[in-house]
């Protein structure tokens, strides 16, 4: 086994231009998943009938199936039932798949955040005449989100890495490009190490961002 450091640097140079695709997939999926996940958490929090049962099935299904199976079903399975879906791009299919799945995970993280805010706060709000909606908007949700932030960051890191499953649908991200380069030379070890370096750098940057966000959210404490 001869490790070729020069080859690794070459691969690094060749895959860095693919970082925006990975980031775009991750950020777009995380935003959509966040909105959907918050909705689900609120449905559970308020125990809305009918919707409550529907989201229970949703969360159970999307937390259970492997991501690669889900992407396959969306991209290759749907067009066979509904031909209109054959117009769907691999990019949108991946974002849709990752959003649907991670909304299920995030809903539980948001629910934990909501549960972490003491009931007494709502009672106090009602006691001083603040409306329920206003209390949620300005008092309960900000605290809930603050408590959910570490869990959300964990999910985001997973999404960054999961986005490389898009290669199954013919979308070349940085991991896929590394595989393509390595399949010619068979130097997978060097290529994978280059991938590891980039993902690590991405997560380090993201963690710095998370810390600043936490400090910002705690400004009133």
């Amino acid at each position: 086994m001869t490790f070729d450091i020069k080859y690794m640097l070459d691969v690094l140079k060749e895959i860095i231009p693919y970082t925006p695709i990975t980031l775009f997939l991750a950020i777009a999926s995380m935003l959509l998943a966040g909105i959907l996940g918050l909705g689900i958490a609120l449905v559970k929090q308020f125990q809305i009938p009918v919707l409550k049962q529907m989201v229970a099935v949703y969360v159970s299904f999307f937390r259970s199936i492997p991501t690669i199976v889900e992407l396959f079903l969306i991209y290759y399975g749907l067009p066979q039932v509904f031909p209109v879906f054959s117009k769907m791009e691999a990019l949108s299919a991946t974002i849709l798949g990752l959003s649907l799945k991670n909304a299920a995970y995030l809903s539980e993280i948001f629910r934990a955040g909501l549960l972490s805010v003491d009931d007494g706060q709502m009672e106090a709000c009602i006691g001083v005449g603040i409306s329920k909606l206003y209390a949620y908007q300005h008092i309960i949700l900000p605290q809930a989100l603050q408590n959910a932030l570490p869990g959300m960051s964990n999910t985001f890191i997973s999404v960054i890495k999961e986005s490389s499953l898009a290669f199954t649908l013919g979308l070349v991200d940085l991991f896929a490009q590394a595989k393509l380069i390595a399949s010619d030379s068979f130097r997978f070890f060097e290529a994978y190490l280059a991938v590891a370096v980039i993902f690590w750098a991405l997560v380090v940057i993201m963690t710095l961002f998370q810390q600043r966000l936490e400090t910002y959210m705690q400004r009133y404490r």
Binding site: K179, S183, S185, F186
Partner: protein
């Protein structure tokens, strides 16, 4: 109290699992192995080179290796993993060779010894049967064609049609590439002709061949560049030459591919 009980159960389960695992490995070690062993890897999902039929591993590359090994007095121990995993296993010395249609390319030759080729393949385009606009390779110029990672079709196509401006969309595995042609999201699909013909027949796919085959490449078994690899490579190369001479390879090839892929069609 309750937590203690749960913890107690957990510890018991873990200990029991450890005990069972321990027994398993000690039994394995105790078994006598008088035979020589060659450890080989394949994906097990690359029809018709390595695949599972009724739960048993089989295929053209698999059967030739098993036959050659048997004649040389080796027992084959198989490992199944994806393609990158196979290379990792080979480099780490966990397996001795790969039986999965490994084409010989110059950069790969720097890294491994390659046995006598047992398979020659040319690249081929296919298109959807319903697509009347595509009947020859020139019709694919400026269009998008699906390809699979690992066979580096982008380079092969560029090399053969430098002015064609054929866009290759690469997929992680064959399922993805084939499914996108079935769903007509791409205009064509490029892969080894023999693999295409065999797969279209087996899965009854709605594809038609477009144009002739181009860029012929030999496939062989790679071995690590060390003493053991050299010895295995010499032994298997001689045996593969013998199997070609006595016609066995042609017979096995016809069984899996429906045609003789063991000779170079370009010669």
């Amino acid at each position: 109290m309750k937590i203690n009980k749960v913890l107690g159960t957990l510890v018991t389960v873990i200990l029991a699992a450890g005990l069972i695992a321990g027994c398993g490995s000690s039994e394995k070690k105790a078994a006598p192995s008088p035979e020589k062993v060659i450890r080989a890897g394949c994906t097990g999902v690359s029809y018709p080179d390595s695949f599972k039929e009724n739960g048993k591993l089989t295929g053209y590359d698999v059967e030739i290796l098993e036959l050659a090994a048997k004649n040389l007095g080796y027992k084959v121990e198989w490992v199944n993993t994806d393609f990158a995993g196979l290379i990792g296993q080979l480099d780490a010395g966990k397996i001795d060779t790969i039986a999965n249609n490994v084409s010989i390319t110059p950069p790969r030759k720097e890294k491994y010894y390659f046995s006598e080729p047992f398979l020659y393949e040319g690249t081929q385009f296919v298109a959807h049967k319903d697509n009347n606009e595509i009947n020859k390779v020139e019709d694919l110029f400026g269009k998008t064609v699906a390809g699979v990672a690992g066979s580096n079709h982008l380079k092969v196509v560029e090399q053969a049609y430098p002015n064609g401006n054929i866009k290759i969309r690469t997929y992680e595995n064959r399922d993805g590439a084939m499914n996108d042609l079935i769903n007509k999201r791409v205009d064509g699909y490029v892969n080894a002709r023999n693999v295409l013909v065999a797969t279209i027949k087996k899965a009854n796919l709605p594809f038609k061949l477009v144009g002739d085959l181009f860029v012929i490449r030999p496939s062989a078994y790679p071995f690590l560049k060390n003493e053991k690899g050299k010895k295995l490579n010499d032994e298997f190369t001689k045996e593969i030459q013998r199997l070609r001479k006595d016609g066995t390879m042609k017979k096995i090839s016809e069984k899996y591919y429906g045609t003789d892929v063991s000779v170079n069609p370009g010669k």
